[in-house]
Structure formats: structure tokens, C-alpha cells
Amino acid sequence: MKIAVCVSHVPDTAAKINIGADGKTIDPNGVTYVVNPYDEFAIEEALKTKEAAGGEVIAISLGGEANKETIRKALAMGVDSAVLLKDDNYRDSLSVAKALAEEIKAQNAELVFFGKQSVDFDNSVVGQMTAELLNYNCVSVVVSFKLEGNKITAEREIEGGKEVVETSLPAIITAQKGLNEPRYASLKGIMAAKKKTIEEKPAAAAENKVEVLGLKKPAAKQAGKIIGSDATAVPELVRLLKEEAKVI
């Protein structure tokens, strides 16, 4: 069985983000990029599935030359080969999904793992859209996954609990934290990754339906206010919580 895992290259969540001169993109200077954290769960699950059921795992990534860093990490973790769909420009989620769907189809991958969202734009829709485009079954926000023959049993996180679902291949699974404990890229894996191929091809043309007009940073945090230190301050605190903060 061919298993695909779609990986995106995103700014490290610890990085300090600045908005670029165009006001629409982030300034990449001084920003470390990493494998999208949710995609690490997707990679791990793809590898575990391959180890249990056999087959091969291919990583697919859409973006610029820099994405190779993320691809290499996936290869070092144990992914067999990779495709980089090259496009240096902005794409909306549907346009990303279309390009990925085309490649998944070309690769004839029956089982595809995604992270539940990319932590850069947080749209949380690419996996589901890709499934729709391919007419694959889809289970999102998955915290437990089991494949037996053609049958998939998965647990997904829902508000206040878990939902257990059953479906079948072909399918797309989007991974949530808790699905597994991603392995470290071992030294042997890193050295072996040098011999693995990254196929590069242009991504299918983008037809964006969503345009980014601008990026804005959240408002700077206001300094705190000290209204007193004993019981006499309580009425004022209650008034402020009611009228200003509007939380009670």
C-alpha cells in the first residue's frame, strides 16, 4: 500500500514574527522554520502504519525551495521518498488542496495523513478539502487510528469527549496531538535521508478564491492596573470586572 503524508513548512511557534514590507506576508528574516508540529504526528502515524502493514510512505509538500528542510526531516524520520510541488507564491487553502489532490491521485496513494492544521495560517481545512476533491473518506482531528485490512477505526476529539468512527480506504486522516509520540530523526536516519530522492515539479496552477489583504499583529498588551491591596478595593474590582472587562 502506498501511504502519503502531506507536510508543511511553517515558522517555529517560538519565533518572533514581523510583518513584511508589503504588509501581506511575514518577514522571513531571522525566523526559523520547522515541520508543522501537527504534521509530525501525521508522519509518525504514516510510519507506524507502514511498519505494521507494509508498503511505502511518500511525503508531499507544496512551497518553495526552503520546504526541502522539512522534507529532509520527514525523510530522516523514515519516510521513503518525497515530492516537492514548487510554488513560491501565496495560495489559498482550496488551491493548496487541489494541487495536493492531483499529486495524491498521480501517486495512487490510498491512505493519506495530514496534520489537523498548519500553525501558520490555521485554516484547518486542507485535509478535508483534499478528501472531497479525491472523493476519499475523511476523519479529522484524530487521536487514535487503527487499520485492519480495508477497515479504519479512528477516535476523534470532539467538544467534551471522543467520537469513535469507522470508515474504509481510500481515506484521509488529519492528525491531532495525542495520536502518537513522534520519533526523533535518528543519526542513521539523517545520514540515510541523504540518499533518498526529492522529486521536484511545478505545482498545479493556483486559482485563488481568497486573497490576503493585510496582516496585523495583535494589539500590544496593556499594562496591568493595581486598584488596591485590601478588602476596600473589592467593590472597585467588581465594578471594573463588570463594566470595563465585562467578564462578570
Binding site: 526559523t32 528542510e69 529532509r72 530522516a76 520519533r183 526523533y184 530523526a185 543519526l187 536516519g189 539523517i190
Partner: protein, 389 residues
Amino acid sequence: MNKFTGVDYFQLESLYSDDEIMIRNSVREFVDHEIIPVIEKHYMEGTFPLHLVPKLAELGVFGPTLPQKYGCAEVNNVAYGLIMQELERGDSGVRSFASVQSGLVMYPIFTFGSEEQKDYWLPKLAAGEKIGCFGLTEPDFGSNPGGMITKAVKVDGGYLLNGAKMWITNGTIADVAVVWAKLDGKVKGFLVEKGMKGFSAPEMKGKHSLRASVTSELVFEDVFIPEANRLPLADGLKAPLMCLNQARYGIAWGVTGAMMAVYDSALSYAKSRIQFGKPIASFQMTQEKLVYILTEITKSQLLNYHLAKLKDKGEVKHTHISMAKRNNCEKALDAARVAREIFGANGILDEYPVMRHSANLESVKTYEGTHEMHTLILGEDITGIPAFE
């Protein structure tokens, strides 16, 4: 605490290859998730985190420069150095474990061992299924190992070993000890296995330093060593000294990691600790301390990087390694003490890593050739006059 993102004032990152960076990042991530969260408890309780051994093996840090056919990653010396740097950013004791397993057990078996010894031991040591230790130092012979009194005598089918070793990292938990002993007055190497009759390895207690590491004595009372357990290519004191070069190389890189840990935590403390209405980082004396540590980190990084390049080219001399070991350990210990001062009283608590690193570095400055001995090795090299004979 914020995620550790490295200390790289002189843009050394631009000199490292993609693989070297990836290897460092993987070990860095491992240290952040697996070592740092558990190390203070082990340190306070005086226990080695043995559960990490299979995980470290899986990561590939045992004998990483050795050939792939033994299950090793076959990386270069820059990558090896970066591994040691990151491990010691976690703890000197954990780095010591990896140094001993790699540089003092796998290296001598690879360099002086028979094909059978290599095929049997190296894959098991790389996989962490077997743990090794290295027995050279004796209670009465530290800086002067040539005076050792541990002795092997030829008997039918092998040798009888008698004597004692001291300050042996991993001794009590080791499955195999690479032991150096005199045979007819000449230093030879032997593989002494756990369970051999007459061999014991009691743990040394009462350490104020390297508390998350096992340090032992090795005692040999008429231990019969089969001929197959002698390292056939080790002949004379030069053999163990070659091993020490490997370990000292790793130490030179390792202590840079310890310095990075104390710098990172002191800088963040100095920016958040308020006294007289402002962060203590705004005071000149605090800034001077931070600048001192950062400068020493940067100097040690430059020494290490070029040392690695010389080692990869096969041009490194033991005196180069002595200089890096000597300088970096001294500066790392000074840096850790200075960092502790930035923390004031808080610096002595296990909430911060500075006191642990500082106490560890007292040992690291002394072991694998004391600071003084490395001074004399360099002194002899530049004057041609040995001061210790």
C-alpha cells in the same frame, strides 16, 4: 522556560552543513524533551537515568563516527562534536556516559580489537544492549598512568588479572570493561566481562559532582581472561592515550554545551529579575558577566570547529586537543560560577541548572587529564622540555 535556540554570536551556523545542523537539532530536541525534565531529580538522588540508554541508542549517539556495518551512523567529527555539545547542555554526566561508550569503549575495540571482537561487541554497544567502561586510572596512578600496578600474567589459554582501577564512569552498570594492565611490563588491553570470577565493580559514593553518573572502582582478584578477550592490536601506553584523545575531543565540545545552558538561563533570569525597580540585566556588573560568558562560549566554539576540521583531515595532534580541552573546561567552570552569581541565592536551587553544571564542571576540568597535565603537555610541546619527568 523558553525553547532553547542555541548560542551563536559569530554565525557559526553558516559553517555547518545541512546534515550537521539536522543532527544537532535532533539531539537538541531529545535533550529538551528527554533529559532536562528528569535530570535534576536524578542529580539530587544521585542516580543515573538508565532508562535513557535505549533511547540514546535509538537516536544513534553511541559510536556515531564508526562504520555503518556495525550499526553506527558514520558521521563526521563536526557532527560528533555537536552531539556532545547538546548532550552536555543537558548534563555532563549524560555526556560522560556517551563519551565513555563511544570514545573509550567502542573506539578501542574498533581500533585495537580483532574482527571477532568488533563483530560481537560494536553492534551491541551501538544499540545500547551492552554498556561499556574504561579502566585505566588507579587509586595511586592518575596523571601518571604508566606507573599502573594492575598486572596480567600469561597462563594456559589466557591471562590472570590482578589489581584495581578507580574513578571509572559506568563501571557498576557495565557489561564489558576495557581494562589496561601490564603484561611483562608492557601495557596491554583486555575485555573484562561482567560476571567473570574474581571481578567486581562497586560504586563510589559521596560525590558532590557528576551525581547523575555512575562512578566505580574495578577490582580484579585472579580474574581469568581468555586469550580471545585481549585486544590484539593494543601495544603499550600509547593505545589508552589514543582513546583519551577521543574522549577529550568530545569534552572540549561538551563543555561548550554546558556553558550555553548556563548562559541561556542566566540571560533570561537577568532580564526578568527585578531589583531597585528594574531588571538586573540593566546593571553594568550583570552585563559584564553575561558578556564574559558569551565571549568564552564563542571562543570555545571557534576552537572546537577548527579542531573538528583538523580531526576530519587526520591532521589533529594530541596537543591541539589538549589545548581545547584545557581552555574550554577552565572557561566553562568559570562561566558556570559567574552565571551562578547572576542568580544570587536562587542560583543554588535545583530550579535552575547553573549549580548542577558548575559542580559537574569541577570534575570535567579534572578528569581525562587534569588542567595541570594539559598545561604541561602543551608546555613540553612548545619548549621541548617535559616538566613532569
